[in-house]
Each structure stands twice: as C-alpha cells, then as structure tokens.
C-alpha cells in the first residue's frame, strides 16, 4: 500500500470517530472545550504512535497465541507512561481529562490499529498509519469540540496546554443566545449526530457526482465509438 494512501485514509476514509465510530466515549466526554479535546487528541496520537511502532518492531517474535495479552500489556504501559508525563508536565490538562486519560487503554482505535495494521506491516508503514489515524481522530475531536464550545458558550477559549493559563479567546455569540445544551452530555450526542449526517451528505454528494461523471464519460465514449463506425 502506498504510504500516502495509508496516511490519507487514516484521516478521511477510515476516520476513527466519524467513519468507523471508534473511540466515541472520549470523543463525547472530552469535547465540551476545544483545549481538552486537543489534549485528548494529542494523548491518543502519542499512544498510537508509540504502540504501533513498538508492536510493529516486535511483531515477528510475538507468538500468535498470546498476541492479544502482549498488545494489551504494551498499550497499557504506553498509556500509563503518557499519563504520568502529562501529570508531571501538563498537570491542569491531566486533571481536566481525568479518568478518560486512563481509559485510552481500552480505546478500540489503539487495539484495532495494533491488531489490524501494526502486527502485519513494517515499522515505517505502522508509524504513518498511527500518525494518519491519530490526526484523523484529533481533527474529529476538534471539530466536535469547536461546534460544542462555540454554540454552548458563544466563543472559544484557548489556554496553554502546559500551564493551563488562558492565552487568547473570542466571544461572538452574546450570552443570552448561546445554547447550553451543547455543553451537556446530551448535546454531545446531538452534535456528533449532526456532524456524522453532514459528512454522510458530503460523501453521498461526492459519490453521486463521481457516478454522474463516469456515466457521462461512458456515454461520450459510446457516442464516439458509434460515430467511428
């Protein structure tokens, strides 16, 4: 498989959150603010990169019978290391993400990519797959968080990931016109559904246009062939 395709598929065609519906729990729980979604996205990206690379590097020596326990040990270790590093150097963010940081261990994306890709491909391809999938998931979280925070609070507040101190922010919608529901759990489901509907609409339109173009090209080729006769 071409490396570019592996990367692009991870972001769009196989987007973990919106196309494969994997890792939905943290996607809904940590997207009430843009910055917590960014933090979760970075944590998942780092976990994916480390686990995919390590698993791909040792895949030839892992006996098939115990591959799942080995994968789980590697994933749990990686997540715990990332959690400790975040508690040390991104303390406020780690407090905000709370239990969802530990729950990356059971995120289907990580085990899914390890089992489906890293166990079957070389280190470089596995790294590219991890980066593509991780960025795709992060973009999904950021889109969901942007929509929820913007509609729920009227603007976006940017804070430092390291110190938690406010950096910059904007407020466009006046307080009286914000929709608080989008900051709640139920609002997360609604917004997730709306984004999935939008993506499906766009994908269907693209597919429809592609079919129309193919049909037009076939008709033109047929006409040309008949004209030739």
């Amino acid at each position: 498989m071409k490396k570019r395709k592996i990367f692009i598929d991870g972001i769009f065609a196989n987007n973990a959150a919106f196309m494969l519906f994997l890792g939905i729990c943290p996607a809904l729980a940590t997207t009430s603010s843009f910055m917590s979604a960014l933090g979760m996205g970075i944590a998942v990206l780092a976990t994916l990169i480390l686990t995919n690379v390590v698993i791909s590097a040792i895949r030839r020596w892992v006996p098939n019978e115990i591959r799942i326990p080995v994968l789980i040990v590697i994933i749990a270790t990686t997540v715990t290391i990332i959690e400790m590093l975040m508690q040390a150097y991104m303390f406020d963010l780690s407090q905000t993400l709370g239990v969802y940081l530990s729950l990356i261990v059971v995120n289907c994306i990580i085990l899914g990519r390890a089992e489906a890709f890293a166990m079957k491909n070389n280190v470089l391809d596995s790294l590219i797959d991890a980066v593509g999938t991780g960025i795709g998931f992060m973009l999904g979280l950021l889109a969901l968080a942007f929509a929820r925070e913007f509609l729920g609070t009227g603007g976006i507040a940017f804070t430092s990931l390291l110190t938690g101190q406010p950096i910059w922010g904007f407020q466009i919608i006046p307080d009286n016109y914000t929709i608080g529901l989008f900051q709640e759990s139920s609002g997360a489901f609604i917004m997730f559904g709306l984004i999935v509907a939008l993506i499906n609409f766009v994908v269907a339109k693209i597919s429809e246009n592609k079919k129309k173009k193919e049909a037009a090209a076939k008709a033109a080729a047929k006409l040309a062939a008949e004209g030739g006769k």
């Binding site: 729980a29 892992v62 006996p63 040990v73 270790t77 715990t80 400790m84 303390f91």
Partner: protein, 189 residues
C-alpha cells in the same frame, strides 16, 4: 508425532508464559523509570494545587506567602473522611483554618478543601471528583458561592432535591458541618 506433541505442550506451558513474563518485565522496567523521573514533579504539582486551594478557600491572594501548621484530626473527623487540618498563618498572624477531606458523594473519591475564618465558612474548593459532568460536577462548582460567608451553625446546601443532586449535597453537608463543629470547638478550646 509424540515428540512433536511434547514440544508443542512445552511451548504452550512454558515458553508462552515466559515470553509474556518477559514482556511484562520490560514494561515494568519502563514504568519504573518514568515513575522515578516524574514522581517529584507530580508531587510538586499536587502540593502547589493544594496550596493554591488553601489560598482560594481563605480568599487570599495567590501571591501571599502562607505557613501551614498541621493540627491533629480527631477520630470522629477521620471517620467521615477528613485527612488533614491546618492552621494557616501569614507572618505569624492566624488567617484561618483549612481541612482536606475525601468523601463519597454520588460517586466515590470526592476530594475537597474547606476553610473557616472567624465564625464563618470562608470557602470551598474541589481537588478532584468523579461526579457526573453536567450533574454532580456542575453542582460542586456552586458550593463555594453557596457557603462563602455563611455563619457557622446556619443551614447550608439546603433543598438540593430541586437540583437533582441530593446524594452528593447531603454527603457534603454532613462533612462540612462536622468540620465546622470541629473548628468552633478548636477555637473555643
């Protein structure tokens, strides 16, 4: 064939667990290394957060330099989850008393600080909680404003049934009132 089966059995019963054990040992080594590296920084972060919390519950500026004097926590208070009690001073002047506690609200693991000044509740700060976002967690954010400046002995956190956070509010009220009683007794003593 028999030799092959024995080899396979040996593989399943000894080599596979050994391999898994080796992977686990390497993982444990990596975790130990990172733990040793990050432990001092994490402890410092937690200490800073606690210190910052004490200043917040006593309505002090974050730039104030405070001294903490550890007080004895009675068995009764320890029984309801109080873990620490400190007298807070600035330049030897007592500015208030703070308590750390861990209780079970709707979920377990609600860790908070409460402070007292004079004869009043000075403030409340959540260190960590597993309360449900949007419900108990949102309620906790209102507690500081609800109790700040309230005279000890006056009713606090009343009628939580209207807000649907009864279990958390009741557990919290019980713990806060116990701390308040202990504070008044200490003050009188």
């Amino acid at each position: 064939m028999v030799a092959n089966m024995s080899k396979k059995k040996l593989n399943n019963f000894i080599l596979l667990p050994l391999f898994l054990g080796a992977v686990t040992l390497v993982a444990a080594g990596a975790l130990t290394g990172v733990h040793l590296l990050t432990k001092p920084k994490i402890e410092e972060n937690i200490k800073q957060k606690q210190l910052s919390g004490y200043k917040a519950v006593l309505d002090l500026a974050q730039s104030d330099v405070i001294d903490l004097k550890k007080e004895t926590v009675s068995d009764e208070l320890a029984g309801i989850g109080v873990t620490n009690k400190f007298s807070v001073t600035i330049d030897t002047t007592l500015v208030g008393v703070v308590y750390d506690a861990e209780i079970t609200g709707y979920n377990s693991g609600l860790i908070f600080q409460v402070g007292f000044k004079g004869t009043k509740y000075a403030g409340f700060n959540v260190i960590s909680s597993n309360e449900t976002p949007g419900y108990g967690a949102d309620y906790l954010e209102t507690v500081h404003e609800q109790i700040k400046g309230v005279e000890i002995g006056d009713p606090i956190l009343q009628d939580p049934s209207k807000t649907g956070k009864t279990i958390t509010a009741n557990a919290l009220r019980k713990a806060l009132e116990a701390c308040a009683t202990d504070y008044l007794e200490g003050r009188a003593g």
